[in-house]
Symmetry: C2
Subunit: 305 residues, 2 copies
């Protein structure tokens, strides 16, 4: 039985989990900023858009101020993962920790900080943050969960069922890596191109009719990413180019998080997303000149601030 | 004897020519905007920075309102070239037309509009435009001139001497293409990277110590450009990588025009600069994946406005 879930990181994704789960279990929220925790305790959490919720949650910046949960969902940004794990370290020893971050390697970093059972996650949900206590749910797409190390698959299924009962779309997979890699290859193509052009993820990303159309670059990035995945022995769960084409055909163009970061002049997730791919490419000796190029350009953009 | 020079396009480069030449001959200026011509007629043209001049010029938007010149210097932006030539067409039949634009192909476009003798030019001067009548001279670097088609080299030298007597640095070369291509390969690497990162042309562009440093991308772009030049049978006048390293070691970082265009959300010269290189690459069957990538990204950026 899962009676209490702690959400770590109340950005868009964390808030969507918290707002939904509060309808089926007790939800605690661990935030980085004290004002954020205070606002959540005072006003609760409001979800609008694809679903409408007004959730009561109990929030704090220190895990010892919150009751022990059965499940911890870590949904920080890449840059917030290490500080969040340092705060969690030594707490909640009986909890199962679910990682829902972009890129690769979050599970290894969780393991460095504790002996928790770990579930790997990847989510395709998206939303827009309106305030500390209000998130708009934009894409009600799936979250995929899979076992990490020797956790029983039954436990993964149990968490998946809880999320489903809360109104979220979820799938439990015996091996998550094909899905993680599909998302990585997709993100590593779409996010830097959006960040560098200023375009939301719209039709330009799939356009290949004219020889100079942007879709050729996106396709080239995806082909490099697929070559890295193949060399790493991964059979992709979904074809990232098809994911790209399908996503651009949705009604409203999604604003990739790296574009939001660039517009707000915040550090981006480029080291996690493209960096993961560059490291795997080097390990397997796969040339990835286009990924190296967009990586250098996004890093240059960060350096210009 | 050159007694009168008409400057077409009074941006930074055109203004630097006009402001200096007015000390040794009569100068007329053809502008696109009527207010610009009126301001020049009223206030004259002020040069500050590397040299200080206050020049009297006679300006208009219609060539028939100006006395016939011996030499026309066309210094428009790429996007302004065709309209300027349409205005010039049928006028000044005895004048020698000097083209001083980025990229390749300006001379062919001039030829389409008239039977003038043509001199090819490329300039490394730079400056900052403070108003319609005030330009600051930043880099007092050279202008190179060379013959186009069957114009006598003596005529090229005569124009070079005039510019020199006006206080500008100039060199007459029997074949300008090696210099044009050096500048093209240099510009095609530096301008899009500046436009996409927001960085002025600073030390990042030459940094190659860390495997992820931006200099690797700049070097990769330059190597592709050099391969295209070699296939086109051009022996470069200067090594573009050395030009890049030298320029980043100057005291103050230059703000490339494509970065200025992007910040002002104006159409950039990407089709002229990188486009020239992509067309030559295709003609000679040279792969240029990095140039294709930055071209697609800058076009995407333009599409995002």
């Amino acid at each position: 039985m899962i009676e209490r879930v702690c959400i770590v990181g109340a950005g868009v994704i964390g808030s969507l989990f918290a707002g939904h789960l509060a309808s089926v279990c007790e939800v605690t929220v661990l935030t980085r900023r004290r004002e954020h925790a205070e606002a959540l305790n005072r006003e609760g959490l409001r979800i609008t858009g694809r679903s409408e919720r007004q959730a009561r949650v109990r929030a704090a910046t220190d895990p010892s101020e919150l009751p022990e949960p059965d499940v911890v969902i870590v949904a920080t940004k890449a840059s917030g993962l290490r500080p969040a794990l340092e705060a969690l370290s030594g707490h909640y020893p009986r909890a199962t920790v679910v990682t829902v971050l972009n890129g690769l390697g979050a599970e290894e970093m969780v393991r460095e900080h504790g002996d928790w059972q770990i579930v790997s996650g990847v989510t395709f949900m998206s939303g827009t943050r309106h305030s500390d206590t209000h998130v708009e749910y934009i894409l009600d797409t799936e979250t995929w969960l899979g076992p990490y190390e020797d956790i029983p698959f039954e436990r993964v299924r149990e968490i998946a069922e809880l999320l489903e009962s809360a109104g979220l779309k979820v799938e439990a997979l015996p091996d998550l890596r094909p899905a993680q890699w599909s998302k990585l290859v997709f993100n590593a193509a779409v996010n830097p191109v959006a960040a560098l052009t200023g375009l939301p993820h719209d039709w330009h990303f799939a356009a290949e009719e004219d020889p100079f159309d942007l879709g050729h670059l996106v396709h080239g990035l995806i082909d490099e990413g697929k070559a890295v995945a193949a060399s790493a022995g991964i059979e992709l769960h979904d074809d990232p180019w098809e994911m790209n084409v399908l996503a651009t055909r949705r009604g409203s163009a999604h604003y990739p998080s790296m574009l939001e970061d660039v517009e707000a002049r915040r550090p981006t997730e480029i080291d996690l997303i493209t960096g993961s791919l560059l490291r795997e490419a080097e390990r397997h000796g796969v040339p990835v000149p286009l990924h190296a190029a967009v990586h250098a350009l996004v890093k240059g953009k960060e350096a210009s601030w």
